[in-house]
Amino acid sequence: MKEELRELYKYRELLYMITYRDIKVRYKQSIMGFLWAILMPILIVMSGIVVRYAYAIVAHAPLKTEDIASVAIKSVPWAFIVSSIRFSCNSLTGNRELVVKIYFPKEIFPMAAVLACLFDFFVAYAALVIFLVFIKIGVSIYLLWVPVLLGTMILFCVGIGTIVSAISLFFRDVKYIVEVFLTYGIFFTPVFYDVRMFGDRGKWLMLNPVAPLLEGLSNCIARHESPDVHWYLYSLGFSLVVFVSGFVLFKDLEPAFAESI
């Protein structure tokens, strides 16, 4: 694995170039340009606010700005997770020519797909920051948690991305299965709702490795509290395992790519 990581480092400029290509092409192709990066998160945030509004009606309680902020803060990263897994799933099969014809470490493709989505994410998050300033959410020391949580999320996405990209090269219908998971995943993840609404049973929802990260972001940005460190460590551990095993699996399958694609 050490050898492979060294080689990946050697090709770091290629990772940058492929990411640049993916971003450039995406923004060149759509007239909407940067709106593309914001449109999907906006849709998710809007639907989240509708759902939250329904809760408020049922609970006979007013809809607090804090809740709206929490939905927005969790929706944008969720959009990132969905799109990065979706794009990395097709990253190998979509670059058939390069996989078959030229040698270089192929994990660059799913990684570049995640990085390109990360770019969209930053654009959307910049818009979110403006929104948060507008509703006067305020700052706290706990904002230092944000990069840690995002880093863990990227690790998780790259791990899942490498796994699904390699498997979907061999089995073309895997992408439909992934798509179903991505569509319904939002119901099993605390994006529109908070884990604390479930009281004691909330811990079952936290088993979803994405949940502690999203809850953590919401805690430290909207509520000015520390994330639950134990659950964060669980997420980190999970992400590391996914990342390492994804890399090992990918490298194991890589020699067969050219003849199987």
Partner: protein, 408 residues
């Protein structure tokens, strides 16, 4: 470092043909079916075939090796293993230094990006870093001859421009070992010449080159040694002329004859003074024997022969009738034989002999064999071009300007 640039030791490569499950929907039922029935252990063996069998060779630093063989002989598989895109099933391989492949020169392009952006993208994919590309940028653009279009998205390029840009980037990668696979078929004649020159200068600079081509002429121009592959095995490794002779002598296409035709060419041989031959010196005499056999009675026939070069251009043709022989008639089962004597005043290259039975008065062609045979004219350094006019230099003089004229 040793003086061996690359070496393959007993390389085997197995492929599976036929059905490969590429969706879970097919794969899972097939797997469970296999588990319950426990069948087809030997059936899977039948679906495998060896694309490469026991390939061993070595290329010294600065040497250039040509690889020739028919379609499906395993040339491309060998190159893919060398460039590490595929892993051999068995065997060991050593490549010392940076290997660059001119295999698919436009694989890294993205149609929506401009020529300039694609130079950087493709260059990085081929293993160059940004600084390296920056320093060679002018050279690359000049080589491609696409200065005007460099800021146009490459999807608007013609296929020739596309390939030219791809080759230009690939050809500027600093490599210790360069693998070239049939890329010279792109672009116009001028560009092909430029590519050949580039490859030659790369060789002169001490780069090891592996050259795969069906164009035997370019193989002889570039490589001192060559390897002949057939059905995944090495037939011979020797100096290029000898290997080409061997390759042409195992021509398989000339053994086909059609069962239904009323008349067919039953035999064509090209020979020199001694016997059957496929390699000649420029200016040498050659004899072409043609035998025609009829299944039905036919009248007023003639035998036509012509030579084509690799570009399908007919460089020469003649027939029994043009040479003043009367048309012949054949009874069912009858045969006709004729022999042409030719002076091969051709410059060096590969030429394909085509033979046809023809009836001039009604302009009807009967059986045609293409190519009936392929000959190779060995290289002479004295002349270039298509024909050999056997030039002699009769006089030469150098005129020195006189001192007086210098003062004025």
């Amino acid at each position: 470092m040793s003086d061996v640039a690359l070496r393959m030791e007993h390389i085997f490569k197995k492929f599976r043909k036929g059905e490969i499950y590429n969706s879970l929907r097919d794969f899972l039922p097939a797997m469970t079916g296999k588990m319950f029935r426990g069948q087809e252990l030997d059936a899977s063996d039948k679906r495998e075939f060896w694309a490469l069998q026991d390939i061993s060779f070595e290329v010294k630093r600065g040497e250039s090796l040509g690889i020739i063989g028919r379609n499906g002989a395993g040339k491309s598989t060998a190159l893919k293993i060398l460039s590490r895109i595929m892993k051999p099933t068995k065997g060991r391989m050593i490549v010392s230094g940076r290997l660059s492949a001119l295999i698919e020169v436009t694989a890294g392009f993205h149609p929506d990006l401009t020529g300039m952006e694609n130079i950087f993208l493709h260059g990085t994919i081929l293993g160059m870093n940004k600084r390296e590309i920056q320093s060679k940028l002018d050279q690359i653009i000049a080589f491609s001859g696409l200065e005007e279009f460099i800021d146009t998205p490459v999807k608007r390029y013609s296929s020739g421009m596309y390939a030219r840009l791809g080759f230009s980037v690939a050809a500027h990668v600093n490599a210790d070992v360069l693998v070239v696979d049939e890329v010279l078929s792109v672009g116009d004649f001028v560009f092909q010449q430029r590519c050949m020159e580039r490859i030659r200068s790369v060789i002169e600079a001490g780069t090891t080159v592996l050259f795969v081509s069906h164009n035997l002429k370019s193989v002889t121009e570039i490589c001192q040694r060559a390897m002949l592959l057939e059905h995944g095995k090495v037939v011979t490794i020797d100096n290029t002329d000898a290997v080409i002779r061997k390759y042409l002598s195992t021509d398989e296409t000339s053994k086909i004859s059609d069962e239904k035709k009323p008349v067919y060419i039953s035999r064509v041989t090209v020979r020199d003074r001694v016997g059957e031959q496929s390699t000649f010196e420029s200016g040498q005499k050659a004899w072409v024997d043609v035998e025609v056999t009829a299944r039905e009675a036919l009248d007023k026939l003639a035998v036509v022969i012509w030579f084509k070069d690799d570009t399908q251009y007919i460089i020469f043709h003649t027939s029994t009738e043009r040479l003043g022989f009367a048309p012949f008639s054949l009874q069912p089962g009858g045969t006709y034989r004729c022999t042409f004597e030719l002076s091969l005043n051709i410059a060096h290259g590969t030429f394909h002999l085509v033979t046809q039975v023809y009836r001039y008065d009604i302009q009807k062609g009967y059986d045609r064999r293409e190519p009936a045979s392929t000959i190779f004219i060995g290289s002479t350094t004295a002349v270039g071009g298509a024909v050999n006019c056997f030039p002699r230099l009769i006089e030469s003089e150098t005129i020195v300007p006189s001192i007086q004229s210098c003062e004025v």
